[in-house]
């Protein structure tokens, strides 16, 4: 029928009840970005004295000397990055292994319990890991792991120095335990989201289970797994209690993994209540801002990567 008839579009009349309720809901929803905004403002305002005083030299200087009013965060950045990198280098292969196990290999009856146990691992509070770290992991690293490492690889600068038990290595280990569940959870979900059609096609062509996983599933899941790694990284960067209980809390930059270190979150945790003058507090807040920016950026990248998996699968379907 050719004639265009002006059609009335009927919005259900916005009764006052509807409008009021919607306003209430919207106000609550608006509170969320407002709170984040307040957070940013608060940090900037209180960190400002340190930002203006130290500027970018904050990042280049290794001197953290509250007495002399010198604040440089390089050792903490080093400690944060190295402990996180170490954690990921352990957690990623292990986590992927478990994810492949759960998504592709495990019999149905095993999936739920194992998945549940991994979730439990994620639910254990940081301070409990720290406690276990101090009394179980540290002694083991000191008397069990370190001699083995020194024996086999002692010539490397990575494993120089006395076996203290506490230090970068232990911190990396405990962080690995804490972030592995993230890798497992996200990777499993991402791999499960790959359509069965892909797997079936590969199997029909005669591929083994492992070949199917490698060729039909992992390529699709690639950016999602990368996202999982970034999420784990963000978590490791921000982790405070377990790290500060086993890393030694010495602001230094040493090549050896056996040496004590310090992270940004650990120094804030330890020194904030001891900060006796305003610039000290501001410097710690400045460090907190740095941590904040880095973790948020890593998180945003992670989410973009995970979102890409969904789109990749949709594109693959066409």
């Amino acid at each position: 029928m050719a004639t265009v008839i002006a059609a009335r579009t009927f919005r259900p009349a916005a009764r006052s009840g509807d409008r009021l309720f919607r306003l209430l809901l919207a106000a609550m929803a608006a509170a969320v970005p407002l709170i984040l905004g307040a957070l940013l403002v608060a940090l900037l305002v209180e960190g400002w004295p340190a930002i203006t005083r130290f500027g970018l030299t904050f990042f280049g200087s290794s001197t953290w000397d509250p007495v002399a009013r010198q604040f440089g965060v390089l050792p903490f950045i080093y400690g944060t990055l190295v402990s996180s990198a170490l954690a990921l280098s352990i957690a990623v292969p292990l986590g992927l292994g478990v994810a492949i196990f759960l998504a592709e290999l495990a019999p149905r009856w095993l999936r739920s319990p194992v998945g549940f146990l991994v979730e439990l691992l994620a639910a254990i509070p940081s301070v409990v890991f720290g406690l276990w770290g101090i009394f179980v992991l540290v002694p083991w690293v000191r008397s069990g792991l370190t001699p083995v490492l020194k024996g086999a690889l002692g010539f490397l600068p990575l494993f120089q120095g006395p076996p203290l038990g506490i230090g970068m290595l232990t911190a990396g280990l405990i962080l690995a335990i804490m972030v592995v569940p993230i890798i497992v959870a996200v990777s499993t979900e991402v791999m499960r989201a790959v359509p069965t059609a892909q797997r079936e096609a590969a199997l029909a062509l005669g591929a083994t289970r492992w070949e199917t996983t490698r060729r039909a599933v992992l390529p699709y899941a690639r950016s999602g797994i990368a996202g999982a790694i970034f999420l784990a990284l963000a978590r490791a960067l921000g982790e405070t209690m377990a790290v500060t209980m086993v890393i030694g809390n010495v602001p230094q930059i040493k090549a050896s993994l056996l040496a004590p270190g310090y992270t940004i979150s650990a120094v804030i945790a330890n020194e904030f209540t001891e900060a006796t003058y305003d610039l000290y507090v501001a410097a710690l807040i400045y460090a907190g801002i740095v941590l904040f920016i880095v973790t948020v950026l890593v998180n945003v990248v992670a989410r973009l990567l995970v979102a890409r998996v969904g789109r990749g699968i949709e594109a693959g379907r066409e």
């Binding site: 957070l39 940090l43 292994g97 196990f101 492992w210 945790a269």
Partner: protein
């Protein structure tokens, strides 16, 4: 290859096993009535308990809930009912950002907001730090759950001549209530174990405190303080505290899984 994957699973689950083992071994031994009823003893002397820390954690949880639950649930409902407005996109994005902020930074926020003006540590500051951490979790799970309410329920209500706002308030939200509560419980269990944001907000207290403007003890803070102390009796009490904390978290997680399973079966 299957062998390697299975091996990874065992390696990954081993620490869980070891942590629980040590919790039971060392922690159980130190759990007694005194632990739950007494205040911390003087440094170096055996005895005393974590009664005030346990109660403190509950008070902080209640405060965090008072902040995080109303805003979180209603905000989440907004996201589910009006998903495509600019505000919705902004809220979703900021909630995701907030969920990724390290807990110690939340502590800094509460410090600046509450501790600085009041000039001392307080329960209120601790509650706000934890509440701000609870908020994004509640928002996201609420949105997810409300979205799952079938269209047919909404249609049935509207077709009866029930206005939209009444439908949202008295039909949609109650239908989603069970899932929302589960999400809240899981969120509360998570923040109950947080230590870092309390270090310079709630700060800890050796005595009972009912004043919102004064520092308060909390279980994770007490565990931390005892763990790094030089006293063996305190170390054992730290394990006991950790056992209580983990037991709490475990129970809530199992209950949440069970509830989620039931919801699925109801459909």
């Amino acid at each position: 290859m299957a062998g390697l994957a299975t091996l990874s699973a065992l390696v990954v689950l081993a620490p869980l096993f070891f942590v629980l083992l040590f919790l039971m071994r060392t922690g159980l031994g130190a759990i007694n009535l005194e632990f739950f009823t007494a205040l911390p003893g003087p440094a170096g002397e055996p005895g005393g308990g974590m009664a005030n820390a346990i109660v403190g954690t509950m008070i902080l949880g209640a405060l965090a809930g008072a902040l995080g639950i109303p805003i979180g649930v209603l905000g989440g409902v907004f996201l589910a009912e009006f998903p495509n407005t600019r505000l919705s996109h902004a809220t979703r994005f900021t909630a995701d950002v907030m969920a990724g902020i390290p807990s110690i930074v939340m502590g800094l926020f509460a410090y600046i907001l509450v501790v600085l003006p009041l000039r001392h540590f307080s329960t209120l500051a601790g509650g706000i730090a934890l509440g701000v951490m609870l908020l994004p979790t509640v928002v996201r799970t609420t949105e997810e759950i409300v979205r799952l309410v079938p269209q047919s329920v909404r249609e049935a209500s509207l077709a009866l001549g029930i206005p939209q706002w009444r439908t949202q308030l008295s039909v949609i939200i109650p239908t989603a209530a069970a899932g929302i509560v589960t999400g809240i419980m899981v969120g509360l269990a998570r923040i109950a174990g947080e230590t870092a944001p309390l270090l310079f907000t709630a700060f800890g207290n050796r005595f009972w405190n009912w004043d919102l403007l004064k520092p308060i003890a909390a279980l994770p803070l007490q565990i931390f303080a005892y763990a790094i102390s030089p006293f063996e009796d305190w170390h054992r009490q730290a394990w006991a505290g950790a056992l209580v904390l983990v037991a709490l978290v475990l129970v809530v997680n199992v209950a949440a899984r069970y509830a989620a399973g039931r919801q699925v079966r109801l459909r």
